[in-house]
Symmetry: C2
Amino acid sequence: MREVAVVGVGMTRFGVSENTNVEMFSEAAMEAINESNLEPKDIEALFFGNVFGSHEEGQANMAPFAVADIGVPNIPATRFEGACASGSVAVRDAFIWVASGYYDIVLAGGTERVLAMDTPAATRAFAMCSNSYYEGPAGITFPGVFAMLAHLYSHKYAIPLPKLKEQMAMVAIKNHHNGKLNPKAHFQATIRDLMEARIARATQRGQPVPTWADEMEFFRDIKVNPMIADPLQLYDCCPFTDGAAALVLASIDKARALTDKPVLVAGVGQCSAGSLADQKDYTQMKSRILSAKQAYTQAGIEPPDVDLCELHDCFTIAEIVAMECLGFFEFGQGSRAVARGETEIGGKIAINPSGGLKAVGHPIGATGARQIYEVVKQLRGECGERQVAGATIGMTDTLGGDAGTICNIILRRGW
Amino acid sequence: MREVAVVGVGMTRFGVSENTNVEMFSEAAMEAINESNLEPKDIEALFFGNVFGSHEEGQANMAPFAVADIGVPNIPATRFEGACASGSVAVRDAFIWVASGYYDIVLAGGTERVLAMDTPAATRAFAMCSNSYYEGPAGITFPGVFAMLAHLYSHKYAIPLPKLKEQMAMVAIKNHHNGKLNPKAHFQATIRDLMEARIARATQRGQPVPTWADEMEFFRDIKVNPMIADPLQLYDCCPFTDGAAALVLASIDKARALTDKPVLVAGVGQCSAGSLADQKDYTQMKSRILSAKQAYTQAGIEPPDVDLCELHDCFTIAEIVAMECLGFFEFGQGSRAVARGETEIGGKIAINPSGGLKAVGHPIGATGARQIYEVVKQLRGECGERQVAGATIGMTDTLGGDAGTICNIILRRGW
């Protein structure tokens, strides 16, 4: 198989969009194509992630309309769906079509307009990514699943829940600090910024104004950071977000002609899991461990070789567990590592320097491609204040459903 | 790239199912795996077509649960959606993962439980496969689209509509004759059988009993074959159907060790089209012409080399137009060819010897894999009374949306 490189990336400003899924994707795609010094006619195929277009906009079969919108209606365009990992799964698949020699230059990515659904509708739609026959009737939506995971983690590793809650809050505080430095993030605001905005609104309304000593105090205040699913409070959860992200993949020969900074796809992994009830230990997700192993083996690296990782922090506890499953920290050590600042930019390994799902937002079909966008920008040294110094190897990690679909991609500097 | 072969196929009895999408798929998958002399643990990945699981059963992210159900929860399992072509698109993608050398043995196919939706819901769901922003508000569902195509065909080729309607009826009569010989078809009944059943029911109810001279008379009677979208009557349309189909693909080396009748994947093609309004001539679908050309080129064959074709007869006019776009007949000659019997088993080329979507039924996510099931069985000589004598090369053709997604696969005897 041939080496494959990312030659261009693009993404919309994440947040609330007035544009359709296809329009958002076109914006991201054209940024990626322009950055690749290509034109749409150079693209040979599209690999497209989207989860709920038929619920958001009454639109199935979306991929053909995406390529038509950028002016190349007659290339193969395929939609991939693996819940919140859809964008990553699409990119992994695009990889093999280029690696095999079938195509030289392809477009991959995803789009999602979550906010076209109202919160109850979106929460219920997301829950359809669990096993609907067996978990749906139990009433478990994802906040519930990850709340149980937090309790399990606390119990298994004998970390008192108040202590773990503080460590989890530090995930959110870190990611919002990073997100403030990311001009494409949904929330370009620290937890302190968000807190001060809330104080300002409360003052306007003549309500009693809370005074917090620090960002952690904010988390503790259940009035402004309400409980969603105990122990997860509002700011333990990533937001609903609209957005799209795209990238151009090319064979290494084509890539070297297009850019002097090709980022190589060093390894890919994907793995499934059955129902939540069938997973033996949800703190050590087998599907994630196996998926990451595939990617590490293909890349010929070990976890300590990774300089930064964009991973699936749909909830703060999810970041901690992902870090451990990916081998960056021993099992049971992740929450302490966060507390020690080891996952900050400049720490042992930069986790979610973009701000993660927590601050950048989580348009589910787009997230995997958005993670690759960040890693590519980091490896090229184009991230300004949030730059991870000397980053050579980066990784993405995306989780769909209850870990039903996991996908990992390892990227490294190709120059 | 390596040669890839189909080593086993399976499908459910198509019709009305009490089983879930996953359960139906497992039944088809286990038949394919058993026929391949394999066990589930030998399968390295799943490529899975499904369109409306989230509407039918409230189930997204379905592929992981499908592999869990056959006992291999931890292999990569990916859902593909390209409207009614979803099953074919999944199989084409599976092909490249084996051809590239990444996997040796994979499972591909699809499942759909259309009848979990009521007719109005299903009709509206299907219509989401058109461009929802521009075609949806016009009120065009697929019967409307293909009715317009029939008018266009009649006008363009100066075939008076009553004449064309008779030729279209002959598509249905042929496919139901074939379907009667297919023990897995939804309708194992000729048009005459269906007519006699209607007469029996009318007699029981004491209603006046129509008497028809032949099957064509039945078509003309608007009372028993009501108008759906002029000129399409009920029996011009394929039914809503539940079902699943699956196949095992293997590298040629593995295939020869597993079976003495490997069927080779000789060529694959896929192409997109934009909105219906952007397609220049819907009687000569560019996406289909381009997709088929990819498959023919890869296979190194021409249309006359094809012995049988399972093609997308969602409506009778659709079969006629498909035959022409695939190059089996000159443009404007297809309907006459049907009338001359050239597309029957034993004719110039056997079109839909299985009975097609018309008689076998159309569980949209499964249809592409079901078509491959038929071609594989035909090439192996296992089709009994509906066998196409001496079949060496077969082809599938699947259309999604308004030709937004087209996929073609050419198979040939590998022994």
